[in-house]
Amino acid sequence: MLKMTNIKKIFRTDLVETHALRNFSLEVNEGEFVAVTGPSGSGKTTFLNITGMLETFNSGTYMLDDKDVSQLNDNQRSKLRNEKIGFIFQSFNLIPDLNLFDNVDVPLRYRGFSAKERKQRIENALERVGLSARMKHLPSQLSGGQQQRVAIARALAGEPLFLLADEPTGNLDSLMARQVMQLLEEINQQGTTIIMVTHDAELARRAQRNIHIVDGQVSDYQQLQPVLDAQEESEKVAEIAKA
Amino acid sequence: MFEIKPILSALLRHKSSTLLIILQIAITFAVVVNGTSIIKQRMDLMSRDTGLVNDKLITLNINSFGKNSDQESNIRADLELLRSLPGVVDAAPMNQIPLSGSGDSSGVAVSQEAHDNQEVTGAGMYRGDSHMLNTLGVKLVAGRLFSEDEVTYTSERPDVKALIITQSLADNLFPNGDALGKLLYFGGGIQVPIVGIVEHMSGSWVSWSSFDNNVLMPMVQLQNFRRYLIRAEDKQAANHLLGEVEKLLIERNRERVVTGVRSMDELIERAYSDDSAMMTILWIVVILLVLITALGIVGIVSFNVNQRIKQIGTRRALGATKADILRYFVTENLLITSLGLFVGIMMTVGFNVFLADQFEMPEFNWALIPIGTLIMFVIGIVSVWLPAQRASKVSPAIATQSI
């Protein structure tokens, strides 16, 4: 479904050339939960941005759903991104002026759904992240974990093929991080492919597959069994909540 | 000024907004300086000395329609009445009133030959009786006044025996300063000796090039339409007369209509109404423009401060004093203002050359450039001060906060 071969990304500034990705190759299949780790500056975000078509690359091929991304123009990439990809960011990136309903509405607007369909999808998505009661609240009225759940609802509302998450738990305390992780796992189990960049080795281990990027290249990837199954996980969350 | 380098590089990074402010300051400067230049010209025009006792004069028109009895005795009776009124110093019948915007003019020359060759100077022709000069309040600097018996009352072409002219006309026609006693030629063989020279007297049309060139003649025209000029003791008496004089004149003779009872101050105001309107509009434009530019600077600098709050906090945390921060923004602004003014001065010069070309404008007042520059600098500093002050108050603690 997603296939990168020999992707090269070079950032040029007046002074330096940074090789953010060098001969980067990777294949991700439908339904996978991929965790990406690596030291800071190794190219994780660059990889995610290229995957999400927010960034172009210098050479190599990137096939998304059998389409050659480098052949698409900006408009087509935007459309593809809108339909197939959901983004989740470390700093949530909710739009502060819009209430939760309108935030989740953003990708749907660009999709061109009818008002009725949008309403339905927004309510469903917020329901899924357990925030349907707070539809009219502004992001600033929510905790960090709740904000991230809204961001997830926003990413899900358009029923994308896969979610791209760049350190989605980086700004959260461990309880909230776990809740968000649990939510992502549920989503993955319902069929959405997830690619998640994280610093947290424990969280990474819970993904089916781990990719380690060093210096712009995949240095190592392994298929892992979930360390804890979902049952155990919810117990652990409950414990932390009590404390 | 050790901070200029980082400021320059910051400005270069925000090329477009820097350029925009420079352009805005430049155009504002050009408009402000050229606008004030025009204002100054109009002000000079309006503050020209009239040579008259402005605030003591009132004027009126008489239109008589009666099956005309003796016009001359009618005029004499009117003036006798006017001169006898309390608070009146003198009064005179006149064919035209200075600054009124209507009247007669004629070309005069220093010889018959010169007149035939069209070598004439335009001059206003003021006809009235022997009280005319005293009523106007003009100052005789050479020669004599008209005598009572020199005055002719006629409806035909008069036989004028003496003229008094303004110094300006005398200087124009006789550059050697020997005008007194010379003859003035009106064409058609008419020549009249100059018996007196008055220091100064404004003409009837404020924008006429011969505004200051005027000729006074001892003659009263007998027509259904005529004008009277009245000199009061003071402004108060003049104001009182304004309300009374029409009634008194009509009471004396009902077969006429009195119109246009006005003070000289009102005539002057009317004469320059377009100029003063232009001045008002220009003032408004100049002030609004300066205001807009100042607000623009406030807006942009406020925005920059907001954008750099974290950076400012960090600088403060690293030891920058409030004064350092303030100085940074003020220096940045001074730099931009200087650039803007440089471009503005170029534009002003160009704009003015263009305007002068198109509209025959009087000489541009170059002193306005340094004055304008100074003013723009002050405006720049005033507008940057508020947001810069706010920037200097940013707490160093902000550096450690996450947004």
Binding site: E55, L98, D166 | V257, G296
Partner: protein, 438 residues
């Protein structure tokens, strides 16, 4: 989608109220000032009689003697005619309509002894004047054609004077005393105030129209005085009204209606014939002797109906608008850049460049419309100011629909132009830059 963009614009206005108000004020002032100036200019320059302005011609004859000229006009033609010329060319039957014209005035003496006499401006004309200049009648009509040859004391008055003297009743057949002469009223015209007063541009371009119209043929009989300009160049003994009628003094005006080029050509030929006839008796001795026919538009131009001060103000007001626009671009740049992170998110969520661009243009259009409305309000205020500053323009100064639409269009156009660059900039930027962890 438009309603969505409008909603977003509204939100963004709410978020940056100060910046937004600064922009609205800047655009509003720019529009207000330039609309005020443009309105005055437009109204002054406006064709006062568009249906006929190219058929009505003002006649000028170069009657100066050798060595004389008029330095006040570009082509040096005198602006008015002598009485003999006005009388003579009136014999031509080439024009469809024609009228002699003189600005004058009278003391009006009301019938009732308790109302005092008053002065009214008047015009001496021929009977076709009203048809030529499309003057509407309320009661009665113009006088008979024959009166232009064999004069009788008839008069047409305007509705204002009719209101004052006859309480607005049909006064046709009643008497009007002008000075010592009694006139019979034959017609009352409706309100008629062309601005500029194109049919007489020598006596105040924006003066009120006259309230009394009498036959020109009465001039020699009642020695009707000229209230306008009298220009002479020749040394003549002018001791009486009869002398003046025979003199070379230029104090009459003449208008003809020439419906097409052929008739105009024929008329020019007729006049040239007249001039050569006159040359035989010693008139028209200047080498430039000739005729000039200027239609209403040309006549307005010759007489500089739009004062040069206005051109300066138009120039300044456009510079003013330019500053306001530059100011707005700067503020928009700031506003949009501030929004860059949000744009990054939108791009990540699938908004295309054009969608972002349009969103921002809708944003500036909204500001433009608001600025335009403020500008209209300020323009009205400005016009009120102009009215008090230039009392003679009062009836000239109002915004018609064209101008209101123009104001909004300029505001919209200007703000969209101003918004183009910032909107382009923001939609071009790489979204990933703004999604970074700060």
């Amino acid at each position: 989608m438009l309603s969505y963009y409008l909603k977003l614009s509204w939100l963004s206005i709410k978020r940056t109220p100060i910046l937004t108000s600064l922009m609205i004020v800047a655009i509003g002032l720019g529009i207000g000032v330039s609309m005020t100036v443009l309105t005055v200019n437009y109204m002054m320059d406006k064709d006062p009689i568009p249906e006929k302005s190219h058929q009505l011609y003002h006649v000028q004859l170069y009657t100066y003697g050798k060595g004389h000229s008029n330095s006040n006009t570009e082509d040096q033609f005198p602006v008015q005619l002598t009485y003999p010329d006005a009388m003579n060319i009136h014999h031509s039957n080439v024009p469809l309509r024609k009228t002699r014209s003189l600005s004058t005035g009278f003391s009006v003496i009301p019938e009732s002894a308790d109302s005092p006499p008053f002065i009214e401006s008047a015009r001496a004309i021929d009977h076709q004047f009203f048809d030529m200049f499309k003057v509407p009648f309320l009661f009665g009509a113009t006088w008979d054609a024959e009166i232009d040859q064999s004069p009788r004391e008839v008069v047409v008055i305007n509705t204002e004077l009719n209101d004052q003297l006859f309480n607005g009743e049909n006064s046709v057949g009643r008497t009007l005393n002008l000075g010592t002469v009694s006139y019979t009223i034959v017609g009352v015209i409706s309100s008629w105030q062309p601005a500029p007063k194109f049919y007489d541009l020598n006596n105040g371009n924006f003066n009120d129209s006259e309230s009394i119209f009498i036959p020109f043929s009465l001039l020699p009989i009642h020695e009707i005085p000229s209230w306008g300009n009298n220009n002479g160049w020749k040394n003549e003994n002018v001791n009486s009204y009869q002398d003046k009628l025979a003199s070379e003094i230029m104090w009459n005006q003449y208008w003809v209606e020439l419906p097409n080029e052929e008739i105009k050509f024929a008329y020019l030929q007729w006049i040239e014939g007249y001039i050569s006839e006159q040359q035989k008796i010693g008139r028209f001795q200047h080498e430039k002797a000739g005729v000039s026919l200027k239609n209403v538009v040309q006549w307005m131009k010759t007489n500089q109906v739009v004062p040069s001060d206005n051109s300066i103000l138009v120039g300044l007001s456009f510079m003013f608008l330019a500053v306001c626009m530059i100011n707005t671009i700067g503020l928009l740049l700031a506003k949009f850049l501030q929004r860059a992170p949000e744009v990054g998110v939108r791009r990540a969520l699938g908004a295309s460049r054009s969608q972002i661009f349009i969103q921002h243009l809708v944003d500036v259009s909204l500001i433009g419309v608001l600025g335009g409305l403020l500008g209209l309000a300020l323009g009205q205020l400005g016009l009120l100011g102009v009215k008090t500053l230039y009392t003679s323009y009062s009836q000239l100064v109002h915004m018609d629909l064209t101008l209101i639409v123009l104001a909004i269009a300029i505001a919209l156009g200007a703000s969209i132009t101003a918004g183009m660059y910032p909107a382009w900039l923001i939609c071009r930027t790489n979204p990933s830059v703004y999604l970074k962890i700060q």
